[in-house]
């Protein structure tokens, strides 16, 4: 047992840090640091730089742009990306549909989609959730009925993140309504968002932004060659996809970056005569989160190390722990940020609707409350923390 990083691993970290801090435009990283959403153009720009350096999809098969990295290297890559406020390659592309196509897609699909997906020439969104389904994903009701060499898709998806930016959507749709179990008879289908019959309606979230949407399919005709893998086996591909994000989910680097920022701002904010960072109570609150975060980082490294011994096709229930604790700590940092900002969390900066006035109060104040509001979602989406607890209870504790 040697819990330190090797010299090679430390050198790799230096290389990553150097790349992220010198190659990704500072304005993009600063915007992420402030807690603001990046624009579509910024997301595309950052990912293309990474892709040009072979760093957008390092976990993909080598022939499609992957690097042959160890789990520890992948971890370091992700950690440095997060700590340096670099927007991660679009998850729907890099972690979701890309690996599914690489694993289960036809050769034609791989050629058509993988390079464009890695380079964010295609912006993907995910059509899994449906109204009323929530965590019971398999109860989906969207149908795809075969009609000649097309599927005709009808139904409604919801919580479709950034559908307003998307070129394509990957969907689960029911192709065999008579299947014995609800998990059967579902297919995994790729759909061009330009196809007639698709309607996108934005849903405004608590922070005032639009990140998610409802998407309707009204007799949408999709060529059968857009089916991934076999018909009626979509549930298997979806499980593969959902198990893919195992360790980065804790987002320790994101929390570290935010704590660093909180400490910087707390040196500027004063309570009475004293800088906030000098307040023992506040320092102890911060330290308590730092302790849990260090523990989570070590937990994550243990899971990463364990990955070498696991069948990568099987989900790792330990990732549920990373999700539970990681989301709690990310949420805790958003509250600490509000502590620092103090009364100036109150004004609502309506920049989404074109307000161009300077912020009320310090410039760092405007995103504090929206970030807190928005980040309540991270213990809900991707399998709520309640679902994660059910998974741990069953898969680890044996209930």
């Amino acid at each position: 047992m040697d819990l330190r990083f090797t010299a090679e691993e430390n050198a790799f970290r230096e290389r990553m840090r150097d790349f992220f801090t010198t190659q990704i435009p500072a304005d993009i990283r600063e915007q992420v640091q402030r807690g603001e959403h990046v624009s579509r153009d910024q997301q595309v720009a950052a990912q293309r730089i990474m892709n040009a350096h072979g760093l957008a999809v390092p976990h993909w098969p080598a022939e499609w742009g992957g690097q042959d990295w160890t789990p520890v290297q992948l971890y370091i890559y992700q950690d440095e990306m997060q700590q340096n406020c670099v927007p991660a390659p679009l998850g729907f592309n890099a972690n979701m549909v890309g690996p599914v196509i690489a694993q289960f897609g036809s050769d034609a699909q791989k050629k058509q989609f993988l390079p464009a997906t890695a380079n964010l020439d295609i912006w993907w969104c995910q059509g899994f959730s449906e109204p009323g389904a929530g965590s019971d994903l398999a109860s989906l009701r969207t149908t795809a009925v075969r009609d000649g060499d097309h599927y005709v898709v009808n139904g409604q998806k919801t919580w479709t993140t950034l559908a307003q930016y998307a070129d394509w959507i990957f969907c689960l749709a029911r192709t065999d309504p008579g299947a014995a179990k609800k998990q059967q008879g579902i297919s995994f289908i790729l759909i061009d968002m330009q196809t007639p019959g698709i309607t996108v309606r934005p849903i405004q979230t608590l922070d005032g932004g639009v990140e998610v949407n409802e998407v309707w399919f009204d007799d949408v005709r999709v060529p059968v060659e857009n089916l991934v893998g076999e018909e009626n086996r979509g549930w298997d591909y979806a499980k593969f996809l959902l198990g893919n994000e195992r360790t980065g989910i804790a987002r320790v680097g994101v929390s570290k970056a935010r704590i660093r920022r909180i400490k910087q701002l707390a040196a500027l904010e004063h309570v009475g005569d004293r800088a906030m960072i000098e307040e023992p109570h506040f320092r102890e609150k911060l330290a308590a989160v730092e302790v849990e975060l260090k523990a989570l980082e070590m937990t994550q490294l243990r899971v990463v190390a364990d990955e070498r011994k696991r069948d990568r096709a099987l989900p790792n229930p330990a990732s549920s722990i990373l999700k539970i604790k990681g989301s709690e700590l990310q949420q805790a940092t958003t509250e600490l940020l509000m502590d620092v900002v103090g009364p100036y969390i109150l004004p609502y900066d309506d920049h989404e609707h074109g307000s161009n006035e300077p912020p009320v109060g310090p410039e760092y104040a405007a995103e504090a409350a929206p970030t807190y509001f928005n980040w309540r979602k991270i213990s809900i989406y991707g399998g709520s923390n309640e679902i994660q607890r059910n998974i741990v209870a069953k898969a680890i504790l044996g209930f």
Binding site: Q204, L206, V271, R376, N385, E386
Partner: protein, 379 residues
């Protein structure tokens, strides 16, 4: 000891509840917020008709002689419905300041207009650096004949953009953070030298940044010794906010329980999961604790002993903050996805609760202040 509402109080409660049920649904509220001022003058007139705007003033002054329990009753109902009109600014905050500071003549000049719904007031107290301190005032008041001239910048003035009249704290003497030297002044919002920038707040209300450049003003009470009155009024504001918060929490809890009972997943109501039931129970315990402390705050806000009063108000704000945070975060979590959208009421309550939790001193600062005062129980 008697926890029952009097007949008058029950009547007040019923009439407010009825009016809000009729006029203050989720969609209706959206409409009021979309108005130019961010709230509805029509609803305001209804408040006047019901006697709510004159509530805290005596009958001689043109009001209805209500006490803090009456105010709490109204505020709790407003919390449930998330009322966006400037009731807190005009009636609770400025009402308390006027009652404690204004002369009979000043009351006579102002109260009828307030009670009739023709005059909206705002309390301009916060400054850029003050962070909830009542003594960190850099705005200056200088004598000008019989009157005063005010110069300075006031920030986060609740409903400061739609108010016709401003009550402004300013320093006529003394050093920064000194208790002596602070006065309360009456300023007309359209006086020369007043400039205002209004904006929406995170919880769907409105506020303003206000610059005062040599603006003519009238003193309310002693122009250099207003602090005890500001503190007294501040504590009454806190009591009202606590009551409003209880309304907000009550609504969040009720919506959550209702959601758990009706939302079906995996073929059954999610509320059949015992883990979620127990969490709803813990929310309920938090709610009842908050309700108790809001009552305590209403009782203690007029306590003649300032130290006891302040201890009580710190304690109440701490309990409200903790309960509100717990209930709010759990309400969102248990609602799942729809909890984080603007399309469903619970998120709006959560946002209001967050601003109450962190407004007028956040939970940590009140806890620290209570600890400095030695806590509630004497050794």
């Amino acid at each position: 000891m008697d926890f029952d509402l009097s007949d008058e109080q029950r009547l007040l409660k019923d009439s407010v509840d009825r009016m809000l049920a009729d006029r203050y649904g989720f969609e209706a509220r959206k409409g009021y917020r979309a108005a130019p001022e961010g709230w509805s003058r029509d609803i305001w007139a209804q408040f006047a008709d019901l006697g709510l705007l004159g509530l805290p003033f005596t009958e001689e002054q043109g009001g209805f002689g209500g006490g803090l329990v009456d105010a709490a009753t109204v505020m709790e109902a407003f919390g449930r419905a998330l009322v966006v009109e400037p009731y807190f600014a005009t009636v609770v905050a400025c009402g308390a300041l006027l009652r404690h500071a204004a002369s009979a003549a000043q009351m006579e000049a102002l109260v009828p207009g307030i009670a009739a719904g023709q005059r909206v007031l705002a309390y301009a107290q916060v400054e850029r650096q003050s962070r909830h301190s009542l003594t960190a005032i850099m705005t200056r008041a200088e004598r000008d004949g019989d009157g005063w001239r005010i110069t300075g910048e006031k920030s986060l003035v609740l409903h400061g953009d739609s108010a016709e009249t401003l009550l402004v704290t300013a320093r006529s003497a003394g050093q920064h953070r000194e208790r002596h030297g602070i006065g309360l002044f009456l300023v007309s919002a359209d006086a020369p030298g007043v400039s205002r920038r209004g904006y929406p707040t995170q919880d769907g209300l409105r506020a303003a940044e206000i610059t005062l450049a040599n603006v003519p003003a009238e003193a309310l009470g002693d122009p250099a010794e207003a602090l005890p009155i500001l503190e007294q009024a501040n504590d009454e504001m806190l009591a009202a906010l606590c009551a409003e918060a209880v309304g907000v929490m009550t609504a969040m809890h009720a919506m959550t329980v209702d959601y758990l009972k009706t939302r079906k997943q995996f073929g059954r109501a999610i509320g059949e999961n015992q883990a979620l039931q127990h969490r709803a129970v813990d929310m309920y315990v938090s709610l009842e604790q908050a309700r108790s402390m809001a009552l305590y705050a209403a009782m203690m806000a007029s306590d003649p002993n300032p130290l006891e009063r302040q201890r009580a108000m710190h304690a109440a704000k701490v309990q409200i903050g903790r309960s509100g945070r717990h209930i709010g975060q759990e309400a969102i979590q248990l609602h799942g996805g729809i909890g984080v959208t603007m399309e469903y009421a619970v998120g709006h309550h959560f946002k209001r609760m967050t601003m109450i939790e962190r407004g007028f001193g956040d939970t940590d600062s009140h806890l620290a202040a209570l600890a400095r005062l030695g806590g509630l129980i004497a050794a």
